[in-house]
Symmetry: C2
Subunit: 133 residues, 2 copies
């Protein structure tokens, strides 16, 4: 990368995402009100374009290998308040308001990050209210 | 993946990170006080073990292909207050207190996410105070 390109990437005011070898960038959904990190997903160019077009988060499902409108079946639609891009434009933060029950995780928790590492040996504790309790 | 393995991965209380083909998991650093998302980086097994051992964030630099103690030259050491893991254990959130000037981005901003997408055409605006202004 030339210095000019690097400068444009880092300081420029136009979105030029650096998709990886699989055509994806990392996308983090963050609750726009509580700032809680809800989930990490992936976007290809199509899902990003659709998200910008509709204001509703669309991702690329790596497991199903298909475009994925988050909440289409669960009702947990993510209305995008803002999209942030990082310095080298290979990661995005979507600041969202979540419809439905407000959750984001298929296991049932509000956030996918419902466990915390408690020790060097890798013991976890659950940090969110269990949806099945 | 069997149902038992999936259940253990999602509901189990032991850290079993699912490293990708390059041996990496995505790691998000979040300011433990303000909840601001500071940066997205990558960890291999060694950097994760060192982070758990020392309480200081270590990553794997994909560009330099080496273990990277964040802040070693800049002073922006990340003291890890908590590590969260997501449902399928391929992403981590590090809740950190940052030493030095409190920043995380090599460009000079506090967070790497200093630009916001303002339009469907992909125009960006800068959302943080410019360190060079």
């Amino acid at each position: 990368m030339t210095d000019t390109n690097k400068h444009e990437l880092e300081r420029g005011l136009h979105l030029t995402p650096r998709f990886d070898a699989n055509g994806l960038v990392c996308a983090i959904a963050q609750d726009a009100t509580t700032q809680e990190i809800l989930m990490v997903a992936w976007m290809n160019a199509d899902s990003l374009a659709l998200t910008l077009e509709t204001g509703i988060a669309h991702y690329w499902s790596r497991s199903r290998n298909e475009l994925w409108k988050k909440g289409d079946t669960s009702g947990q639609i993510q209305h995008v308040r803002d999209i942030l891009v990082d310095c080298d434009q290979d990661a995005l933060v979507l600041r969202v308001d979540v419809a439905g029950d407000g959750g984001a995780c298929h296991v049932g928790f509000k956030s996918c990050f419902y466990r915390s590492v408690r020790s060097k040996s890798g013991d976890l504790i659950q940090t969110q209210v269990d949806p099945k309790a």
